[in-house]
Amino acid sequence: MFMKINLLPDSQKQALKQEKIKLKVWVALAYLGFSLVLFFCVLFSLNYMAKAKAKNFVGQTIEKNNPQNQEKFKTTKIQIEGLNTELAFSSQVLINKIYFSDFLERIEGITPAEIYFERILLKKGSREVSKSEGSEEKETQFFAQGELEGIAKTRENLYDFRTTLLNQGAWLETVYFLPISWKLPIKSEFSLSLLYFLPKK
């Protein structure tokens, strides 16, 4: 068994206790003060680093962005833009190109020996059409407008030729023979107009 020895008077004991509390408070305040100083040092270092890094970036940017390189950028930009424009333009021209020689080859292929052409006139034309059925959006459609004149051995040959033309499908449209073409039963002089559309290349 231990006995508690109580030698000091109550007032001194109280004073001693308060001294201890004061010491603890001061130690706590010293810690806080030290933390504040440390935090200041951290902030100051960060600030300094940010400043130095920014300065470094500025230096490097100036170094890389020298007049020689700027000239290179400018030239390259102009070249790229030029090439893009040329490619877009070329593509547009090629998409809308009508090959008249293709038309002549096709028409030659379906013309029977009894039909002779005397004159063929082809002109490039265009029209605005809806992109899809019911759509208000328009697109330009290119075609060759043809006027063909010639002679058929007989009226029947000419009629058969007309049927062949009408059955050609999408590449030929508005096939029209002038009424006078049907006048003669033999050696019929005919005049035909049509529209030739792309098989696009």
Binding site: K22, F100, F117
Partner: protein, 201 residues
């Protein structure tokens, strides 16, 4: 005046709080604002730097691409005539004439269409219209027309007229050797051109 320990503690805390407030207002606040500005500045400078680096990389990669695809770009460039001196097209036609058994004449109706001048470095497309007259068999004429239409030049066929030569047809001196049954072809082409002396890719 002798301060009690309790008062000393209270005063220490108050003094510490007061000092802390002063430090926060006069030291930390400006430091924080400075750090914020520097960070923003750093972000901006870093962005500028990486942008320049990106541009340099783009220029290098563009150079690599142009070297790799030199033939493609050369082909694209060659598809445009030199607006000031369209020698290539005439040479091409001369080559075809030698190759095909045809009489060919380029009509004086050569029309140069040049839009307004563009800004510095801007690619401005112009065009030259050629009217080509040829005479010979239908097969040779068709081959000639096909070779022009499938030539590497960026051209559009605007009009083609084929007339079968009869005894009654009046022919100019150049085509006087043509016989009845052969074809006289008049074709109009629009060839895209650019000022090659000013822009070199």
């Amino acid at each position: 005046m002798i301060l009690t320990t309790k008062t000393q503690i209270k005063l220490s805390i108050l003094l510490f709080l007061g000092l802390t407030c002063l430090i926060v207002i006069f030291v930390y606040r400006p430091l924080f604002l400075n750090l914020k500005n520097n960070s923003e500045n750093l972000t901006k400078k870093a962005k500028d730097f990486f942008q320049v680096e990106k541009e340099i990389k783009s220029v290098e990669s563009f150079k690599e691409i142009t070297q790799e695809k030199a033939t493609v770009f050369s082909f694209l460039d060659d598809s445009f005539l030199n607006f000031s001196a369209p020698v290539e097209f005439f040479e091409f036609l001369e080559g075809l004439v030698r190759q095909d058994n045809l009489l060919v004449d380029i009509s004086p109706n050569v029309r140069a269409i040049g839009p307004k001048e563009g800004e510095e470095g801007e690619v401005v497309f112009k065009s030259i219209e050629f009217e080509v007259l040829s005479g010979g068999s239908f097969e040779d004429t068709l081959r000639f027309l096909k070779e022009i239409e499938h030539s590497p030049f960026l051209l559009e066929t605007l009009e083609v007229s084929l007339d079968k030569i009869t005894e009654k047809t009046t022919l100019s001196e150049e085509f006087s050797s043509l016989r009845a049954g052969e074809v006289l072809c008049r074709a109009r082409f629009k060839v895209t051109a650019k000022e090659k002396d000013a822009i070199s890719n």
